[in-house]
């Protein structure tokens, strides 16, 4: 799964879904929802990588993760130009290989831990989820979406099942976030279009990671 899916949060979540008896269509739907943010990552990288051949971009897409995006966009902004090799190093060297080696180690050695709960290992999953969410809280909308998502998830989970709660939170949370007025700095251009040469792409500044890593940089533009 680590090779084929290569999506940490979705894989963690899938383990929980399967353990809770959620049917496969539900797992697939939630996986798609959970990874929907990658749409923003790929769109944000598009201006930098548009000259890369289609075949290589197709492979890049599979390797696009939170970490690969953060490292790549920070690198491109720093040097002010496209560096395809930088993407491969970020995606494969620092993410794909370590993730799969660690997954293999977990499969081989994990069973030797008699009672994981005794060591608090069971808390890693929800803590990792909230930690990843924390990195995405870049404004009031995101905070509202997260709080409403969590609240709806708990209520719906208590009324129905945990799996349904997660779906409900994941669907209703963003809708609640949309009710909050977007800060002017994050408003899209009037046309809503992406401009490769734009100084910034407000609608596609997807993560706190990008914003934080961009701090202090000269805000170089993608190649036009």
């Amino acid at each position: 799964m680590s090779v084929i899916v290569f999506a940490g949060a979705a894989q963690f979540a899938a383990v929980g879904y399967v353990a809770s008896g959620l049917a496969w269509p539900g797992v697939i739907l939630l996986t798609a929802l959970l990874n929907a943010r990658h749409l923003l990552y790929s769109a944000a990288l598009r201006p930098w990588l548009r000259d890369v051949p289609l075949g290589r971009r197709a492979i890049m897409a599979h390797l696009l993760t939170d970490e690969a995006f953060a490292l790549t966009i920070a690198h491109y902004r720093r040097i002010g130009r496209t560096d395809e090799r930088g993407f491969w190093i970020a995606a494969i060297g620092s993410t794909f290989i370590p993730w799969n080696l660690a997954s293999l180690a977990g499969v081989v050695l994990g069973g030797q831990i008699v009672d994981p709960a005794r060591f608090g290992i069971d808390i890693i999953f929800p803590a990792a989820m909230v930690g990843l969410a924390a990195g995405m809280l870049t404004g009031r909308r995101e905070v509202v979406a997260a709080i409403v998502g969590a609240g709806v998830g708990v209520v719906a989970g208590l009324l129905t099942s945990p799996a349904v709660g997660i779906v409900a939170g994941g669907v209703i949370g963003p809708a609640a976030g949309l009710l909050v007025a977007a800060p002017s700095a994050h408003r899209a251009p009037a046309s809503g279009s992406l401009r490769p040469g734009a100084t910034s792409m407000p609608s596609l500044r997807a993560t706190a990671v990008e914003d934080e890593l961009a701090d202090g940089s000269s805000d170089p533009r993608p190649p036009s």
Binding site: A13, I28, S42, A43, P126, G157, G173, P174, A175
Partner: protein
């Protein structure tokens, strides 16, 4: 080793790849409605927060009925959240969460 989840993994790939590839492979993203892009941007924090909350608050009893749970897990997850925001790094937050839960269980208070 069980391989019956390989097919599920393939389906999960089918579900994840389009969102990763759309922006890189097609020029059509700029045609999505503005509200759709905003919605997608909020899916990540909402889903992850829902997963975390449900996992520490909603437990199933012996009969399989969901019940409201209060425990040290709340403290651990909140500590992880605070430390991750403070340090801009997930790892120390995870370590703190594990130490809190393991410590509380070792002391018999959880």
């Amino acid at each position: 080793m069980s391989t019956n989840l390989v097919l599920l993994a393939v389906w999960m790939f089918v579900a994840t790849y389009p969102s990763r590839a759309l922006g890189l492979l097609t020029p059509g993203l700029d045609r999505l409605p503005r509200v759709a892009l905003d919605y997608l941007q909020l899916v990540g924090p909402a889903v992850l927060a829902a997963i975390a909350a449900v996992n520490v608050v909603v437990f199933k009893d012996a009969a399989g009925k969901p019940t409201f749970h209060i425990g040290i897990e709340w403290v651990a997850v909140l500590a992880c959240l605070a430390i991750t925001r403070w340090r801009h790094n997930l790892f120390p937050g995870l370590i703190a969460a594990v130490i809190i839960v393991a410590g509380a269980r070792a002391l018999g208070v959880a």
